[in-house]
C-alpha cells in the first residue's frame, strides 16, 4: 500500500477506483490489487476503517472492552492491504463520478484544498451507510446530535458527551452505542426505545432464520448488557427536544402520557440507510426498499449497478452490516477482474464460492432485524408541523405538507422549486427520506411513486478557487495540441 498525501501524487489513470475505505472498500481494494489491477482507494477520512472501524489504526481508546471485540476485527482488513500496490489516498473527497468519452469514468477528486480529474476504467462505490434522518421538534438545538456522531467522537478522539445524556431511537446500534458510551464513562440517564411493539408481529415470521444467525448471540449479549445496567424506557411514541439556545431536556410520550427528562445531551438514532448521494449523482438506478424503508441502488448478484463499470458494494447498496460489507466488496472486485479479462467467468465463480457462503451466513437473520427495527411512521414523517425537516434551508414538515397538498407538488424535485429543501450543501442527505415520506402521505402514494431527488455533483462542496485551479486532464491537453 502506498499512501498518497498530495493530490499530484495521484496518477492520471487507474484500472479501478474504490471510493471509501470502510470494510467494503478495504476488501475490494485488496482483492483487486491481489489480482494485479492498479487500484486507487480514495477515502475522506484521515485513516482507514470507515464508520464501523473508524480510527482502527489510530484510536486513543486502548481498553479493548470499551468498543467491543468486533471493532478490533477491522485491523485485519487494513493489514491485508499493506503488501499490495494499492494507492491509498486518505483525506481525499470524491465529488463526482461521470462517464468519460472512451468508455471509462472521470473522477473529480479533492485533497488538501486542491482538485483534480482522474481517469479510471471501473469504479467500486463503497460509500457505506448514513444514519437515517430523525426529525423531531428541537433536533437542531445544540446538544442534540446523532448517536453515530457520538460514536465517531468516541472512536476517533476518545470523547464522550458530558453531563446527563439521553439516547433515543430504534435499532441494534442503539444498544451497542449505549453500551459503548456507558463503558467509556458517559452518564446515561435514559435509553428511550421508539420501537413499535407491533413490529414483533411482522418480524416473527423471519425469526427462524435469525435463530440460526450470527447476530443472535451478539445481539442478546448487547441487549442484556444495556438493559441490565441502563435505565431503559420502551414504547416511546413521541419525542421533542426542549431548551432555548441549548438542549435542556427531552419530552417523552409513552402510553399517552408525556413527561420531561432533564438532560445535557440528546443522542438520536433511527437506524442506518445506504448513503446514495454519489451513486445517485452518477446516474445509477435506484429503488425504494420496502423492508428497510429506504432508497437503495439497484445492483445485481455481483453488485454491478445499472451503469456498466460502476459497482456499489457494502452498506451503500443495502444495509447488511460490517461483515457482509467486506464480503460484498470482495465479490465486486472479482467481477471487476472478470470485466478486465483477468478472470474467466468460471474462475470468478469458483473464487467467489466460499465468499458467497460466508455472505449468506452473515446476512441470515437480517430480515428479522429489518422488520423488528422498522421505524414508526411518526418518526419517518413527523406529525408536528413545526418540526424542521430540511436543516440547511430550515424547511418545516408543515410547509412541505402544505405545499404538497395546496400546490399539488407530487415529487421531491418539484418541491425544491417552492421550498428549496434538498438544495442546501448537504443535498438532501438529511431531508430527502423525510420529504419523500411527507409527500407520499399527503397524496396517499407510496415512496416508489413519489420518487427521490435527482442529486448533482459535486456531491460534497468544492471551492470556486479549487475548481478554477483544476489542472487540465491529459485528454484536454491532447485535444488542444491536435
Amino acid at each position: 500500500m502506498i499512501t498518497l498525501t498530495a493530490i499530484d501524487q495521484i496518477a492520471e489513470h487507474y484500472d479501478i477506483a474504490v471510493v471509501g475505505a470502510g470494510p467494503t472498500g478495504l476488501a475490494a481494494a485488496a482483492r483487486a490489487a491481489e489480482l494485479g489491477l492498479s487500484v486507487l482507494l480514495a477515502d475522506e477520512n484521515p485513516s482507514p476503517g470507515g464508520q464501523i472501524y473508524r480510527a482502527i489504526t489510530t484510536t486513543p481508546v486502548t481498553q479493548r472492552g470499551v468498543l467491543g471485540e468486533d471493532y478490533w476485527k477491522g485491523g485485519a482488513l487494513v493489514d491485508r492491504l499493506w503488501p499490495t500496490n494499492t494507492a491509498y489516498a486518505p483525506g481525499c473527497t470524491v465529488w463526482s463520478v461521470a462517464p468519460d468519452e472512451v468508455g471509462g469514468f472521470e473522477l473529480g477528486l479533492s485533497l488538501g484544498g486542491q482538485a483534480r480529474l482522474v481517469a479510471t476504467d471501473q469504479v467500486i462505490l463503497a460509500t457505506g451507510a448514513q444514519e437515517r434522518p430523525f426529525p423531531i421538534p428541537g433536533w437542531t438545538l445544540p446538544g442534540v446530535m446523532t448517536a453515530g456522531a457520538a460514536q465517531i467522537a468516541l472512536k476517533a478522539s476518545g470523547l464522550v458527551p458530558s453531563g446527563r445524556t439521553v439516547i433515543a431511537g430504534c435499532g441494534p446500534l442503539l444498544y451497542l452505542l449505549a453500551g459503548q458510551l456507558a463503558a467509556a464513562g458517559a452518564n446515561i440517564v435514559a435509553v428511550l426505545d421508539t420501537m413499535p411493539r407491533r413490529n414483533w408481529l411482522s418480524a416473527l415470521a423471519a425469526l427462524p432464520d435469525f435463530l440460526r444467525s450470527p447476530y443472535l448471540a451478539k445481539g442478546l449479549k448487547l441487549m442484556a448488557a444495556a438493559r441490565g445496567k441502563l435505565p431503559f424506557r420502551t414504547g416511546v411514541t413521541a419525542l421533542a427536544a426542549e431548551g432555548s439556545g441549548k438542549v435542556t431536556g427531552v419530552s417523552v410520550t409513552r402510553g399517552g402520557r408525556t413527561k420531561t427528562i432533564a438532560c445535557d445531551a440528546l443522542l438520536l438514532h433511527q437506524g442506518v440507510i445506504p448513503g446514495i448521494n454519489l451513486s445517485n449523482a452518477a446516474g445509477c438506478a435506484q429503488h425504494f426498499d420496502h423492508v428497510q424503508l429506504c432508497w437503495t441502488p439497484t445492483v445485481d448478484d455481483w453488485f454491478a449497478s445499472s451503469i456498466p463499470g460502476i459497482a456499489i458494494a457494502g452498506d451503500g447498496a443495502g444495509i447488511g452490516g460490517a461483515e457482509s460489507a467486506a464480503l460484498r466488496g470482495e465479490l465486486a472486485s472479482l467481477d471487476a477482474a472478470r470485466r478486465f479479462g483477468r478472470l474467466t467467468p468460471v474462475q470468478r465463480d469458483e473464487m467467489a464460492g466460499p465468499t458467497r457462503i460466508a455472505l449468506a451466513r452473515s446476512l441470515r437473520g437480517r430480515r428479522f432485524l429489518d422488520l423488528l427495527y422498522r421505524p414508526a411512521g411518526a418518526f419517518l414523517a413527523p406529525p408536528a408541523d413545526e418540526t424542521i425537516v430540511c436543516r440547511c434551508e430550515e424547511v418545516t414538515a408543515g410547509q412541505i405538507r402544505d405545499t404538497a397538498s395546496r400546490l399539488g407538488v407530487t415529487g421531491p424535485n418539484q418541491m425544491k422549486a417552492f421550498l428549496r429543501c434538498g438544495m442546501g450543501p448537504c443535498q438532501g442527505r438529511l431531508c430527502g427520506p423525510t420529504v419523500v415520506e411527507l409527500i407520499a402521505q399527503a397524496h396517499g402514494l407510496s415512496p416508489t411513486e413519489v420518487g427521490y431527488y435527482r442529486l448533482r455533483p459535486p456531491v460534497k462542496p468544492i471551492t470556486l478557487a479549487e475548481l478554477a485551479a483544476l489542472p487540465p486532464t491529459e485528454a484536454a491537453v491532447k485535444a488542444v495540441v491536435r
Binding site: S96, L117, K416, M423, P461, I462, T463, L464, A465
Partner: protein, 377 residues
C-alpha cells in the same frame, strides 16, 4: 367518459407549452396539454432563470418586449410571483474594445426604436456592481430585467391553465403525429388524442414532431451547464453577463450565487440525462475568479445541465407551420427562451385564435430551415 379531443393540443409542458395552454384557455379554447415527464422537467425547470431583454437578437426583441410586460405583472397573470425579482441585468465590458462594441449596439437599437438597453460608464458600473474588477470600463444595462425561479414559474403557468379548464396530462409521451381527416391524431403511450390544431412546444424533442409532419429541422440537442454556490454575504443585485467570455452571474436573495454562461455538457436525451464537463466548468470558474475576487472561497454546492434545443442561427422557431394548416411551432429557444415564455404563449394563442398578431415575428418562421431558397434569396 374522458375527453380525448380538444380545440387545441399542446405537445410539451415547458414554460412555452404551459403558457400557450393558459393563453388558449383564457381565449375560451379547450386545450389538452401532453407532457412526457412533468411540467418544467427539462429546459424550463433547470435553466438560470434569467428574465432578460438585454443583448437579444433583433429578431426576437418584439417577442421579448411583449413578454417583459407580462413578467412585470406575473402575479396577476398566474397567481404566483414566480420568484420574479427586478434588479436589472448588466453586460460588463472587460476592456475599451468591448465597450466600443456595446456603444455600437446601443446606437443600433436606438435607430430601430428600442430603448431598453442603456450604455453605462465605469462609475455607474461600479455603483451597480461594486464587487466587479476595477479593470472593467463600463457596460450596458437593461433596467427592467431580472430573474425568476424557473420550475416554480412553469408550474404556476400549468396550475393557472388547469384552473381555467386546460386538461394537463403529465407522464404521457407522444409517439407520433399524423393527419386524420380534419383533425390531427396525436398518438401517445396512453392512447391517441384528436384536434384540428396542434402546437409543437416539445423543446429538445420538437424536431421529432416536426419530422413527423414533414418539416425536418436541424435542431441540436444541447446541455448548458450551471453551478450554484453556498450562501455568500450579499454583494451584488443585478445579473451580470459578459460578451466575449461566457458568463452569466447572479446572486439570489438567500445569498447563493448562480454561475452559468452557456458552457455545454453532454446531453443524452433518450435517457433524460446529462453529463457535466468539469474542464469547461473550471474555465467558467476562472472567469468568476478574474471578475469577482470576493467569490474565490465560495463553496460550489451543485452543478447541473438541462436538456435544451438549439437552432443553427440561435433563434427560436415560432409561428404557423409552413406546410400544414392547424400546426404551430414554438421551440428551439437556444438556451434563452425562459423570459420569452409568457409573451410567446400570449402571441401564439392570438395567432391560433385570430390568425394573426401585431407582434412582429419575422425571421422566426420554420420556413427558414424547410425552404431555405425561398426565405433567403
Amino acid at each position: 367518459m374522458e375527453c380525448r379531443s380538444a380545440d387545441v393540443i399542446v405537445i410539451g409542458g415547458g414554460i412555452h407549452g404551459c403558457s400557450t395552454a393558459l393563453n388558449c384557455a383564457m381565449r375560451g379554447l379547450s386545450v389538452i396539454l401532453l407532457e412526457k415527464d412533468h411540467a418544467g422537467r427539462h429546459a424550463s425547470g433547470v435553466n438560470a432563470g434569467g428574465v432578460r431583454q438585454l443583448a437579444r437578437h433583433v429578431a426576437e426583441i418584439p417577442l421579448s418586449n411583449a413578454s417583459m410586460a407580462l413578467w412585470h405583472r406575473i402575479e396577476d397573470l398566474v397567481d404566483d410571483d414566480c420568484g420574479f425579482t427586478c434588479d436589472g441585468q448588466v453586460l460588463v465590458a472587460e476592456d475599451e474594445e468591448d465597450l466600443d462594441t456595446c456603444r455600437a449596439r446601443v446606437d443600433d437599437l436606438t435607430l430601430r426604436g428600442f430603448h431598453h438597453e442603456e450604455l453605462i460608464d465605469a462609475a455607474e458600473l461600479r455603483r451597480l456592481v461594486p464587487a466587479v474588477s476595477d479593470l472593467c470600463p463600463g457596460g450596458v444595462i437593461s433596467r427592467r430585467d431580472g430573474a425568476a425561479i424557473p420550475l416554480r414559474a412553469t408550474q404556476a403557468f400549468k396550475r393557472k391553465a388547469a384552473s381555467l379548464g386546460a386538461d394537463i396530462r403529465e407522464g404521457v409521451r407522444v409517439t407520433r403525429v399524423v393527419r386524420d381527416g380534419a383533425n390531427w391524431r396525436v398518438e401517445t403511450d396512453n392512447g391517441f388524442f384528436l384536434s384540428p390544431r396542434i402546437v409543437n412546444t416539445a423543446g429538445a424533442w420538437a424536431d421529432r414532431i416536426a419530422a413527423d409532419l414533414g418539416e425536418p429541422v436541424p435542431l441540436e440537442v444541447i446541455a448548458p451547464m450551471l453551478m450554484i454556490t453556498a450562501a455568500m454575504p450579499a454583494f451584488i443585485k443585478p445579473v451580470v453577463i459578459l460578451r466575449r467570455r461566457k458568463l452569466s452571474f447572479k446572486q439570489f436573495g438567500n445569498g447563493t450565487v448562480l454561475i452559468g454562461g452557456g458552457y455545454l455538457g453532454r446531453a443524452i436525451r433518450d435517457e433524460n440525462r446529462t453529463v457535466l464537463d468539469w474542464g469547461k466548468l473550471a474555465t467558467n470558474a476562472r472567469t468568476v475568479w478574474d471578475l469577482f475576487p470576493v467569490m474565490r472561497a465560495a463553496p460550489i454546492a451543485r452543478a447541473w445541465a438541462g436538456i435544451e434545443a438549439r437552432m443553427p442561427d440561435d433563434l427560436p422557431v415560432f409561428g404557423p407551420s409552413a406546410r400544414h394548416e392547424g400546426v404551430y411551432h414554438q421551440f428551439g429557444f437556444s438556451a434563452h427562451g425562459f423570459q420569452l415564455g409568457p409573451g410567446a404563449g400570449a402571441v401564439m394563442a392570438e395567432i391560433i385564435a385570430t390568425g394573426s398578431t401585431n407582434v412582429p415575428i419575422d425571421g422566426l418562421q420554420i420556413s427558414r430551415f424547410t425552404h431555405p431558397r425561398e426565405s433567403r434569396p
